[in-house]
Amino acid sequence: MRIRHIVWKELWRRKAATLLLLGGLVLSVGFIVAVQRVQMSSRERLSRVLDAMGKNIVILPESATLRQYLAGDLGEETFPLSYLGIANQHGLTGPLVAGQFQGSLQRKISIEGENVVLCGVTAQVDPDAPRTGSTSPTIGEGQAELGWGAAERLGFEHLREKTVDQLDVTERKSFELPYFGGKAKDETPGAGAGPVPPWKKTRPHTGRRPTSKPRGQARKVRVTKVRPATGTIDDFKVYVDIALARRQLGLEDKVLNVIQAQGRLASEEGLSEIVTALQSRFQGTEPKVRVHHLLNIARARRTAYGRNARYMTLLSVAAFILGAMIIGGYAVADVRGRRKEMGILLAISARPGHVMWMFVQKMLILAVLGGVIGCWLGGLAAERWDPAAVAAFHPPFWEMYGLALVLAFGLTLVPSAVGVVVASRIDPADTVREL
């Protein structure tokens, strides 16, 4: 027979007390686990919302609201949230050359009655393909990548088989869909419409066209076409990551930065430089850029999340303290009630350490049982509490059960320390005298 045998027998003999104590432990642990589970899931859901915002800054007219953008409430258009994150869908990592951004697709959307054209870049269909003009994807391939039928909707389906570079001026006109004043700009060279736009000119020494953005075109935000071997910030709009928002929420691991993929550091300073460059580009002209919407959203959500989290944490702490007080009281009462028993053990063979270990074993057994059952019930309670949040995120098995066991040990061993010390100080001579 070992000491643990005595422990199990005692627990079994006093079933009512054991079940009561276990029940209290299960409730405390279960409540805290449920709260933590909901909090973790809410946090994860928040992170996913931020992910859904895209890995990039959306450049919108100032009057536009991000809510509309996120909600897809854009009149007839359904705005795919993945649009701006397309570059990341191919798992592009490492330094990117501008040549990987082959062609541009534009999409007309209407926000609060204002026409906006959002331009994005698509990566190559095969990011590992050699960087030659002949292998650049066709518009149809690029459109297929995005998968949202832009070609049909925007009326350039007939251009599906051509790459952007293969478009002639007329075709480019229909492709780029200028919306300013409802009329298309005639960009045919020599058409008398005025000087050749800068982006049509070819630089003599590089053979490539300059890529400065058209100015004065209200509400149009475009990604300048890029050529192979070029890729500076001035050449194309960079969809930068919302590293700042993520850092504020402590979700740095969620960052996937196009800038980073291009070999630049995703530092706050770097981000600020890019944002500043973008803002200065459009300063005084249309469109005005607004690059902090997502941060505002993130802040607002963080505030709500933080408020909720504080309330939840307070409840968890209260549950823990209450549970600890009850178990601590029980431990002391248990020792006092078993004084004679401890006394005879000390008299005939045991040392104080054996008696202490007996009580610690008892608490350990209750902690493990209470922790496991409490975690399971806490998970069920969390699913009832906030099904959407819980369904969105399943933490690792070991994380939740580990938390539950740590809580259970904390609820049993720490408060029962007083009882254990009292047990070790029992005087066998006093107890054996008792009748």
Binding site: K9, L345, S349, A350, R351, P428, A429
Partner: protein, 224 residues
């Protein structure tokens, strides 16, 4: 084998101090049945506990086979107690939710002995006291006489050289008391020293030697 040398036991301090034992000198030989008789409050239990290494005397020494009980630390004293002493108490002090066999095994719980060996020894001891049919009975379900016999078996399991019994028959009827005393005599015959504390003079007279204790002092020390 047991030497009590000028042991004094005082409780409290100053004016409230009570001298329970006053300069007790006593020797117990191996295989001797000694009865300590005295009225309530005479210091019998204090003397017994002091002899068993459970109550540190205010002064004096207690030697068992030449080794002093109180010149060693707690763990060593516990080991000495386990090696040399078996205890019986007036109220048996069994653990009610353990069976008779499990109660008898209690002295061996901390020794590291294999469970199987413990059970065998416990069964043997219970058989010795005539309780072979009560092995798995919870202690709370035993009769008073059976409980005391279980306590006796528990005192024997570690093969002690000395059994210290504090009023072992106080709660027993005459017949059961006689049976218990007979068992003690049997073990005495096997070389175990028995020290029995009682207020019953008649019971004391059934021992090999009786000493009388009054107000912490030995007033008689002679053969029964």
């Amino acid at each position: 084998m047991l030497d009590v040398q000028h042991v004094t036991q005082t409780y409290g301090r100053g004016r409230k101090a009570i001298t329970a034992l006053d300069g007790i000198d006593l020797h117990v030989n191996r295989g001797e049945f000694l009865a300590i008789v005295g009225p309530s409050g005479s210091g019998k239990t204090s003397l017994l506990l002091t002899m068993g290494g459970l109550l540190t005397p205010t002064s004096g020494r207690v030697l068992i086979d030449g080794a002093s009980f109180y010149d060693v630390g707690g763990p060593a004293r516990t080991a000495m107690r386990l090696k040399y002493c078996g205890f019986m108490f007036q109220t048996f002090h069994l653990i009610p939710y353990l069976t008779a066999m499990e109660n008898v095994q209690l002295p061996l719980v901390t020794t590291g002995m294999e469970s199987r060996s413990q059970r065998e020894l416990a069964a043997e001891c219970l058989k010795t006291v005539g309780l072979e049919e009560r092995l798995d009975q919870p202690a709370s379900k035993l009769s008073v006489g059976e409980m005391q016999r279980v306590a006796l078996a528990r005192a024997l399991i570690n093969r002690p050289a000395l059994i210290l019994a504090d009023e072992p028959t106080a709660n027993l009827d005459e017949e059961t008391a006689r049976v218990v005393v007979e068992y003690l005599k049997t073990f005495r015959n096997e070389g175990v020293a028995i020290v029995l504390v009682t207020h019953d003079t008649e019971l004391g007279n059934s021992a090999d030697r009786t000493v009388r204790l009054r107000r912490g002092t030995l007033v008689a020390n002679g053969a029964s």
